[in-house]
């Protein structure tokens, strides 16, 4: 093999699909048929996964920390809610895109505030923006319904064909389709030169600029894209629950998001999905056992995760899947190799 094609081969190494990934998505799809009574919670996980993927794009790849990602989620949620409530855009898929674009516009506008400064500053500026939006939504209650939220949202069937049902089946497959499409897109983006340049910026912005990368422009671009993703997640939320209330902007939502991503691991896109599953399942299990004190046990799990070490934990958790995959694939393919974070 010539050096050049060798280089090409290795450069594409990460971009190639692994068996493990295919298996992962097949399992997700299978869940839709295996647990017909749990569509709601599964839809919730999918939404959260999409939302987390959005944070992963900026945190895991570009190294921008944010405690206010709920701002975009919220804008998407209210946009979708208002579109449906006032019958402006009736078809859900179309409304989803419009809502995503609304969040994207906000993302673009606020990106200029966020690219300045160090981590802590970013954390607080993003947080501040989300809290301001929450306060605004509260103040303009004639539009947003204030603390009561938007009331009486009724969703039209998807493509005019598939209605949302009470059991959440349509909602689940709809969310899964959206998540998968956006995942494919994100996967493509992160393996492009653009995606790699983000990792370079995260690693060393000084050097990144010194090889000609327009650092700010790249950061603005990814932040805007992430806002779009978060907006879509928010819109999915409204469409599948028919609710949009103030807490879509809440600090807790952004904070939980951070936890989910960190649990799942940053910088390989699957972190959001895995983290969402783990986090929601834990919540569900603990709050069923003890509705009052479930937070204690979640807290304990977080503490243990950190003390044991996430890397090690991932190795344990993925030990069996990796074993199987090695058998099937016959080579050293690994389900997920979480990278270190910021």
């Amino acid at each position: 093999m010539s050096a050049s094609s060798d280089v090409g081969y290795h450069a594409q190494r990460q971009a190639r699909w692994h068996y493990g990934e295919v298996a992962f998505w097949l399992i997700v799809l299978a869940c839709g048929f295996l647990f017909p009574t749990r569509y709601l919670i599964m839809t919730d996980i999918l939404r959260l996964a999409l939302f987390t993927m959005s944070l992963d794009l900026i945190l895991g790849y570009a190294g921008i920390v944010s405690l206010g990602h709920a701002a975009f989620f919220g804008v998407g949620a209210y946009a979708a809610g208002l579109l449906a409530l006032h019958g402006i855009v009736k078809e859900p898929v179309l409304a989803l895109i419009v809502a995503g674009l609304a969040a994207m516009v906000l993302g673009f506008a606020t990106s200029f505030l966020v690219i300045r400064g160090v981590d802590l500053t970013r954390l607080m500026v993003t947080l501040g923006i989300a809290l301001l939006l929450e306060a605004l939504a509260e103040r303009f209650s004639n539009i947003t319904g204030g603390t009561d939220g938007l009331q009486g949202i009724e969703m039209q069937p998807i493509f005019g064909e598939i209605p949302f049902d009470m059991f959440g089946k349509a909602g689940f497959f709809y969310s899964l389709a959206v998540l998968f499409l956006l995942f494919l897109f994100a996967r493509r983006v992160v393996h492009s030169p653009f995606g790699l340049s983000l990792r370079a910026i995260k690693n060393n912005p000084l050097r990144a600029a010194a090889i000609g990368i327009p650092v700010n422009r790249r950061l603005i671009a990814i932040y805007t894209l992430a806002a779009f993703y978060a907006g879509i997640a928010g819109a999915l939320f409204t469409q599948t629950t028919a609710i949009a209330s103030l807490d879509v902007f809440a600090f807790e939502r952004s904070a939980d998001l951070m936890l989910v991503l960190v649990i799942g691991g940053t910088g390989y896109l699957y972190g959001g999905l895995i983290g969402a599953v783990i986090f929601r399942m834990l919540q569900e299990v603990f709050s069923t056992i003890t509705p009052q004190y479930w937070q204690f046990w979640i807290g304990l799990v977080l503490v243990v995760i950190v003390l044991v070490g996430r890397q090690r934990l991932h190795r344990w958790v993925l030990y069996v899947p990796n074993l199987v995959i090695k058998q099937v694939a016959g080579r050293k393919a690994v389900v997920a190799v979480p990278e270190s974070d910021a």
């Binding site: 009574t37 749990r38 709601l40 919670i41 919730d44 306060a135 509260e138 209650s141 204030g146 603390t147 009561d148 939220g149 009331q151 009470m166 059991f167 959440g168 939320f237 629950t241 028919a242 609710i243 209330s245 807490d247 809440a250 709050s287 509705p291 009052q292 479930w294 937070q295």
Partner: protein, 365 residues
């Protein structure tokens, strides 16, 4: 199938947790006292925490209905939560028993909703009427800026100004508000006869402490309002500044009936503190469920249960109450109370009663 399942969705964590706990406690107490079988069926309570976040409420309700196949959903700490579950109650045709949330519109959102708590219109209008009749002419208002706060404010103003009173200052405070100092200073500067206050249960203590600190009590400015601000849950902890506060409310732990005395004693014994109005709403809520089941003879058909609930009348620790057959909302006495010291403890002592008050929010519309 001989169990009846009640899905109880309450804020058990987060800022509203004490509401959830009072209701859960009261229900436990009721079931201890009355046994867990009614009309030959065993009653099973499934508690879910929604942290007062509506989408969690909705998911919880949906899960309860679809997976646990509950026959009732109940609880609901805040209005958005109660509203979020409404379409599900309608679709699933099962009763939704609202035990805390207090905005008027709730019961209109589904024919399956009944309420055993109160509406803010009930107490706010009454205190408005009472104030004008008792020589309070100028009032400054301080209300939390969210739907219940606005309800309280509007209903109060409506009756108070109709009676010839004047609102000299109107301040809405943010819902999450750590410090009342600047708002109270505004109140003080406006020199009213009284302040009308509505803050969510829990913040009452902060308010009263700072009211006293700023010397508004000494300046002769009284506190009036719906009873949330002097919730029994917290009252004893507020210090002597609350003495003389006049509120209109549905329940006081000092309500002089024998039934209430027993209730308070039992509750204290079981959980160590005094029951508040949330506890009594939960107590009555589970009572209503029991009574409905008795009436249908254990039939769990939702339509039948709702029919059975309409028009129920009973004696509660708070006094005589009933369910309005038309609106499915509660009809109850509203008491005017003043904070006094009884046996070294602070209590809301009732001194006037407005009987069988309906939800004025709806009757007016």
């Amino acid at each position: 199938e001989d169990t009846v399942k009640v899905g109880l969705i309450l804020p058990m964590t987060g800022g509203q947790a004490s509401t959830g706990k009072q209701i859960e406690n009261a229900i436990k107490l009721y079931m201890q006292q009355k046994g867990d079988t009614v009309a030959g069926k065993k009653v099973e309570i499934i508690v879910k925490d929604d942290a007062a976040i509506p989408d969690k409420t909705k998911t919880a309700a949906q899960e309860l209905i679809v997976n646990d196949k509950v026959n009732f959903i109940a609880g609901f700490g805040v209005t958005p939560a109660a509203l979020a579950a409404a379409p599900l109650a309608t679709q699933a045709k099962i009763p939704e028993v609202v035990m805390a949330a207090g905005t008027s519109i709730i019961t209109e959102r589904s024919p399956y909703i009944v309420r055993t708590s109160f509406t803010l219109a009930q107490s706010s209008t009454i205190i408005g009427d009472w104030a004008v009749k008792n020589g309070i002419k100028k009032v400054a208002t301080l209300t939390s800026d969210y739907a219940p706060g606005n309800d309280a404010l509007n209903f109060f103003k409506q009756n108070f100004t109709a009676g010839g009173g004047e609102v000299v200052e109107e301040v809405k405070t943010p819902l999450a508000n750590p410090d009342f100092a600047p708002f109270l200073q505004r109140m003080k500067d406006a020199k009213p006869d009284a302040i009308f206050v509505f803050v969510p249960a829990g913040q009452g203590g902060n308010f009263m402490k700072q009211y006293a600190e700023r010397g508004l009590d000494k300046a002769g400015i009284k506190v009036i309002g719906p009873g949330d601000v002097t919730d029994d849950d917290l009252l004893n902890n507020m210090g002597d500044a609350v003495l003389g506060t006049v509120t209109a409310h549905l329940y006081s732990a000092a309500h002089p009936s024998q039934m209430n005395k027993d209730f308070v004693a039992a509750y204290k014994k079981a959980f160590g503190n005094r029951p508040g109005f949330m506890a009594v709403s939960g107590y009555d809520g589970i009572h209503l469920i029991y009574e409905a089941l008795k009436k249908t003879n254990g039939d769990t058909n939702g339509d039948k249960l709702i029919e059975a609930m309409k028009g129920q009348k009973w004696e509660s620790p708070r006094g005589p109450i009933s369910i309005d057959p038309e609106t499915r909302d509660i009809v109850q006495n509203i008491y005017i109370r003043k904070v006094e010291k009884v046996d070294g403890e602070l209590y809301n002592v009732e001194f006037a009663t407005f009987e069988a008050v309906k939800d004025l929010g709806k009757t007016k519309k």
